[in-house]
């Protein structure tokens, strides 16, 4: 199966082309085509996952490249795919969510005038996202990075007649471009020092010391900037809530489960290039994000916006998790989050579909009308709130554990754990606030309530599937084993052994083999086995295990120390688990106290801390700040430049013309023709001097003779003396 992996992105791409071109004329407007292709992708992904899972090798790699672009003999960029365990998991996540969203959309988008276009866009998104997951170099991930941005733009602005939707699409694209600017700089730094862009080649080059120190940190932060944009991290998180203008399935697929997680995936993919400083930067960005977003989520009343901010907050968790060294934790949260957040979003879509409103203050008691939606939504909420036995508990707990462990080693950075813990409570609170206001209590708007009904099966089946994936048993066990933190490439100890990464096979036709890089110094380089992709080497797992839980500073330390680390990690895990369960419970409790039992009136609380409430309600005024500074600033600057261009640069020659005016004034022949600024400047000078000169031609004969004689005299005098 894996040998056909390169086909995966092309299936949705073909359906994109068909749907965009002739979709309107196809039966059912081509929705089946998109669904079929993505389902095929799902099947292939399952196949691949099965192969990977069967191998059960933390170092599994399948790497194929074909030459794509070359200039001279030094500049070479290859196209290819790289499948390791992370990829396999990610493929599965993407295809599952995508398939379910396709299915859900059939019902949700029913009757839309641009139905076929919607499925075409979903297909191009699936293509881009799968390409992003499979790409084996920074260059290609950047390509697909932009392409998912495009599909996001198209889908957010799908209902472009709404100005807010069109605005949101534009905002998303441009904000992402800001992040991509950093990404590009990161790529450029790496390329200019290492001369390669394939992940393996880059790690190898960094290991050889071609790029190190501050520049490496900068490169890491640059690449991470891409993630800041795509994963809506502070300070570029502003686009994601606005992106909710898109159809809800899109929000679920792109802006909750997959595309926004691409940033996290990117960080995971290039993890070895991050220096400890870069990781610390990443962790802080994650922390700030998760906190800010959660505080905002508490006050929002739009069901999708609450979910959007919760997405931002959860992405912050993932990023922070990666930043503090919880590699596995961050990626695990990515996977679990994809399921429960997609479930939440699709659930919200089901609700919106039913009541035609997004304001939770107009809902209430919907559990009676929409039991399936309610149950699935509740399960997902339990998952996100970190209730034990649900997937969110499993992964968030790992993140908090990693943060605590990091804090134990570096007490000055304990804030990661504390902030994360506090926000976990906050998350539970606002999520249950949402559930209670939506599904419990009494109907607020009877008209809407009466209209509400359970969604058709095409919509609730995906909900059920996703809800089923919200339980933790799906993930526990294999996840931590298969997905291991890679060694930092910059750590000299990790690369003191000859770099064993086997260069990928080249050829015009995709060739394959399993390359097994060394995760630890103790390992012998494995001979390249040009054969089938699943070449397990279990012997490596011991050493791999040892470095698994280690913090960023722990690489390359002795096994004894590794044992100590393991102990520390275990301890941290326990603490984190207890405290997170406690805090989560408190949050849920508070939500019930306030919104279910009504013992505390939220309006009064809000009034009591009005400035804070306003501040949060207005999302910390980020949009206003950006609007006032960056956007207005650049617009004003561009207007200035346009003015400058029209008046100064074009006028540079005009300036000469002004000089000409002055000169002609000096000779007493001021000529207002010159002032005509519209005329090209050089011509103006010419004309003005021409008109001065022509005044000499008075028509009076004796002037002519005078000039003749005078001219001759002057010539004579000049020549004579």
């Amino acid at each position: 199966m894996i040998r056909y992996a390169y086909l995966i992105p092309f299936l949705p791409l073909s359906s994109f082309f068909v749907n965009i071109a002739v979709g309107k004329r196809l039966p059912r407007k081509g929705d089946w085509l998109s669904l079929a292709t993505i389902a095929a992708c799902l099947l292939m992904s399952i196949g691949i996952f099965y192969e990977v899972f069967r191998a059960y090798d933390p170092n599994f790699r399948y790497h194929v490249v074909v030459p794509w672009l070359s200039v001279g003999n030094r500049f070479v960029i290859d196209a290819g795919i790289l499948i390791d365990n992370v990829t396999a998991v990610m493929l599965l996540v993407v295809t599952i969510v995508s398939t379910l969203v396709h299915l859900f959309s059939i019902g949700y988008m029913h009757g839309d005038p641009r139905y076929n276009r919607f499925f075409a866009y979903l297909s191009i998104f699936s293509f881009s996202m799968l390409g992003l997951v499979l790409s084996e170099s920074l260059f290609f991930i950047y390509i697909f990075w932009e392409l998912v941005g495009l599909s996001s733009y198209l889908l957010i602005g799908f209902w472009f007649e709404k100005k807010s939707a069109a605005d949101a699409g534009k905002k998303a694209f441009i904000v992402n471009r800001v992040g991509d600017f950093g990404f590009l700089i990161g790529i450029l730094i790496i390329f200019s020092t290492c001369g390669v862009l394939g992940y393996d080649q880059v790690f190898q080059a960094i290991g050889q010391g071609k790029l190190s120190g501050t520049l490496l940190t900068l490169a890491g932060i640059g690449v991470f900037c891409g993630a800041i944009g795509k994963s809506a991290q502070f300070p570029l998180h502003v686009w994601l809530p606005d992106a909710m203008e898109g159809p809800t399935p899109v929000s679920a697929l792109i802006h909750a489960a997959t595309m926004v997680a691409a940033g996290v995936y990117l960080v995971g993919r290039v993890y070895p290039i991050f220096t400890p400083d870069a990781l610390l930067f990443i962790a802080y960005v994650g922390l700030i994000t998760l906190f800010i977003a959660a505080t905002i989520a508490v006050t929002q009343n739009d069901i999708k916006r609450v979910l959007a901010y919760s997405t931002v907050s959860q992405l912050g968790y993932m990023v922070m998790g990666l930043g503090v060294g919880g590699y596995t934790a961050g990626l695990a949260h990515l996977a679990t989050h994809a399921a429960f957040k997609a479930c939440l979003f699709l659930g919200s879509g089901s609700v919106i579909h039913a009541v035609h409103s997004q304001d939770i203050r107009e809902m209430g008691a919907l559990r009676r009308k929409m039991p399936i939606t309610f149950v699935t939504f509740l399960i997902a909420t339990l998952a996100i709130s970190g209730v034990p036995f649900f997937s969110g508990f499993y992964s968030k707990d790992m993140i908090l554990a990693a943060a605590l462990e990091f804090g134990m080693k570096h007490p000055q950075h304990m804030i990661f754990f504390l902030g994360g813990l506090f926000t976990a409570g906050l998350t539970a609170f606002y999520m249950f606030r949402l559930v209670i206001l939506t599904f419990f209590g009494k109907p607020v708007d009877h008209h809407k309530f009466d209209h509400a009904h359970e969604s058709p099966p095409s919509m609730w089946v995906p909900l059920v599937v996703l809800a089923a994936l919200c339980f933790s048993f799906w993930y526990s066990g294999w996840f931590g084993t298969l997905i291991r933190k890679p060694a930092s490439a910059a750590n000299p100890a990790a690369v003191s052994s000859p770099a064993p990464a086997v260069p990928a096979e080249r050829g015009l036709a995709p060739m394959e083999h399993a390359a097994v890089p060394a995760p630890s110094p103790s390992r012998e380089p494995a001979p390249a086995e040009p054969g089938h992709g699943q070449a397990p080497s279990h012997g490596t797992s011991v050493a791999g295990e040892a470095s698994h839980a280690a913090g960023p500073s722990a690489h390359g330390e002795s096994l004894a120390e590794a044992g100590h680390e393991a102990h520390l990690a275990h301890q941290a895990h326990a603490y984190a688990m207890y405290s997170s369960v406690t805090v989560g419970a408190l949050g849920i409790l508070l939500a019930f106290v306030v919104y279910f039992f009504g013992w505390i009136d939220p309006a009064r609380v809000a009034n009591a801390v009005k400035p804070l409430y306003e501040f949060l309600l207005n999302k910390w005024y980020f949009d206003e700040l950006y609007e006032a500074t960056v956007i207005e600033g650049s617009k004003a600057f561009s207007r200035f430049l346009a003015w400058f261009d029209l008046n100064v640069v074009d006028g540079l020659v005009n300036l000469a013309a002004r000089l000409g005016v002055f000169l002609s004034f000096l000779v007493g022949k001021f000529d207002n023709y010159v002032v005509d600024g519209a005329v090209n400047g050089v011509a103006t000078v010419t004309i003005s001097s021409g008109s001065v000169l022509r005044r000499l031609q008075t028509g009076k004969l004796y002037h002519y003779v005078f000039v003749l004689a005078g001219g001759a005299l002057i010539i004579f005098i000049i020549r004579a003396f």
């Binding site: 050089v682 011509a683 010419t686 004309i687 001097s689 021409g690 008109s691 000169l693 022509r694 000499l696 031609q697 028509g699 004969l701 002037h703 002519y704 003779v705 000039v707 003749l708 004689a709 005078g710 001219g711 001759a712 010539i715 004579f716 020549r719 004579a720």
Partner: protein, 492 residues
């Protein structure tokens, strides 16, 4: 080495043909009552045609001094004779077309025209200052009459008055300079004068003589600051006469300028094609400055003109400036460039005037505004005029570019970069006013949309003028060869 009078006649056939034609015209004028018939024009065509033929078949070998040293028979003179008579043919045809001249006495007009031509023949071959003065006056005096030929038209008479006074003064100054030269050397033969001056240092009288001679020649080629008569005269004179002035006397002026200065104040370094100054009178620098001034003033003032004839007058001043560049370089390639330029200038300038005559016939006006919409009223004439104007600007693939190329090339080759830059910038300026005419012809909607009739003969003439302008822009080797052969000048 000097051929006697009788022996010289063999080398004087074109002049004789022209003289005979003039005499015949006088007879015709006296004998015929029909003063406006086409006979004089046809007769002059015949005469000039014969002259061209005689120039063409004139005995080879060159390098003869005829009439006891008064004139030279050399490639240089032959070239100018051919050039000026060619110009005269075109002008005669143009005059036949012009309604300005219709109804006026024809024979007199052509007598003056041919007399001027005779003067130009002599001027381009004169090797004695007496001869120079004589032929200069022979060119000038009929020109005055041509300028004032439109009896009753105030402009024309005013032009003639200015022309005659200015011309007489300029030639007076020149003759005074000649008298000083004669005093310094005791000879009237320019070769002799040159030899006598070789040893001498630059005395004040010598300088004075050089400058005063420059006044006379400068007036003839209309170089700044001796150009001021030309715009007024060009505007006032009948258009065919203006066309004639802008090429014929100017070319002859260049001929005598080159011959005089190169013989008197310089001498060739054998085998190199390079001249060196024999006296310390640094006239090349002087004329380089005049050249820059001339082209700049001509172009700048032209920009502001609204009368096409006047505009072309200034443009011809500017072109004299370009040609002067070749004069200052003391190299045969420089002179070659002038000769080449004169050939292409002949076609493009006369062509432009031809269309002006055509439009003047149709609209009775010569303002730029009268050309508006010509592109649709008379497309062929308009396209031809555009070709001529762009050729005058010096844009490939028209011949004017090649002419400029030769001039620029030699200037750069001799290292006078500043002059090259000035000239280059001037070309850009010139585009502006030439394009103004093109603009009104093609880009503006005409006030009057009636088609302008273009007679078949005129059309044929325009073709005959456009063709060389185009062909010489693409393949000019033969003309270049003729020019380089014609540089061989008598110098003894």
């Amino acid at each position: 080495m000097f051929l006697g009078n009788l022996g010289s006649l063999r080398y004087f056939l074109p002049e004789i043909a022209v003289t005979a034609t003039i005499l015949l015209l006088v007879v015709l004028h006296v004998a015929s009552n029909r003063r406006t018939s086409a006979a004089p024009a046809l007769l002059s065509l015949l005469g000039v045609g014969t002259a061209i033929l005689l120039v063409g078949v004139s005995p080879a070998g060159g390098g003869k001094s005829i009439f006891e040293g008064m004139a030279a028979y050399d490639g240089f003179a032959v070239f100018f004779k051919g050039l000026t008579s060619l110009a005269t043919v075109v002008v005669i045809l143009m005059s036949m077309d012009s309604t300005e001249l219709a109804g006026r006495s024809q024979a007199e007009y052509y007598i003056f025209l041919l007399a001027t031509l005779l003067g130009m023949f002599l001027l381009s071959s004169a090797t004695d200052i007496v001869m120079v003065y004589l032929s200069l006056e022979l060119v000038s005096i009929p020109s005055y009459l041509l300028a004032g030929y439109l009896k009753g038209k105030e402009d024309s008479v005013e032009a003639a008055m200015k022309y005659v006074v200015y011309g007489a003064t300029a030639s007076g100054v020149m003759i005074y300079g000649f008298s000083l030269l004669f005093g310094l050397t005791g000879s009237t033969q320019i070769a002799e004068i040159g030899r006598s001056l070789v040893a001498g240092k630059a005395t004040l009288p010598m300088l004075l003589a050089a400058v005063m001679a420059a006044v006379g020649f400068g007036y003839k080629i209309a170089a700044v600051p001796f150009h001021m008569w030309s715009p007024d005269v060009y505007e006032g004179a009948p258009t065919p006469a203006t066309a004639f002035f802008s090429i014929g006397p100017k070319a002859a002026g260049f001929a005598v300028l080159v011959r005089f200065y190169y013989t008197v104040f310089a001498s060739p370094t054998p085998g190199t094609g390079i001249w060196h100054l024999t006296t310390s009178v640094d006239w090349p620098l002087l004329f380089a400055v005049l050249s820059a001034l001339t082209m700049t003033v001509g172009n700048l003032v032209a920009v502001k003109q609204n009368n096409v004839k006047r505009l072309l007058a200034y443009s011809s001043i500017a072109h004299a400036g370009y040609m002067l560049m070749g004069f200052v370089l003391l190299s045969s390639a420089g002179i070659e460039a002038i000769l080449f330029y004169l050939v292409v200038y002949l076609f493009m300038n006369l062509g432009a005037f031809y269309v002006v005559v055509l439009v003047g016939n149709g609209t009775k006006g010569e303002d730029i505004a009268d050309f508006s919409g010509l592109g649709s009223r008379a497309p062929f004439a308009a396209v031809s005029l555009a070709v001529f104007l762009f050729a005058l600007t010096g844009i490939p693939p028209f011949s004017g570019f090649i002419g400029k190329l030769y001039l620029f090339a030699e200037v750069i080759h001799r290292g006078v970069y500043w002059l090259a830059v000035v000239a280059a910038l001037n070309s850009v300026v010139s585009l502006y006013y030439y394009a103004r005419i093109v603009k009104v012809m093609f880009l503006e909607e005409p006030k009057d949309t009636a088609a302008l009739p273009v007679p078949a003969v005129t059309r044929a003439m325009l073709v005959l003028l456009v063709a060389p302008t185009l062909i010489l822009g693409v393949y000019w080797e033969p003309v270049a060869r003729i020019a380089s052969n014609s540089v061989k000048m008598l110098a003894f």
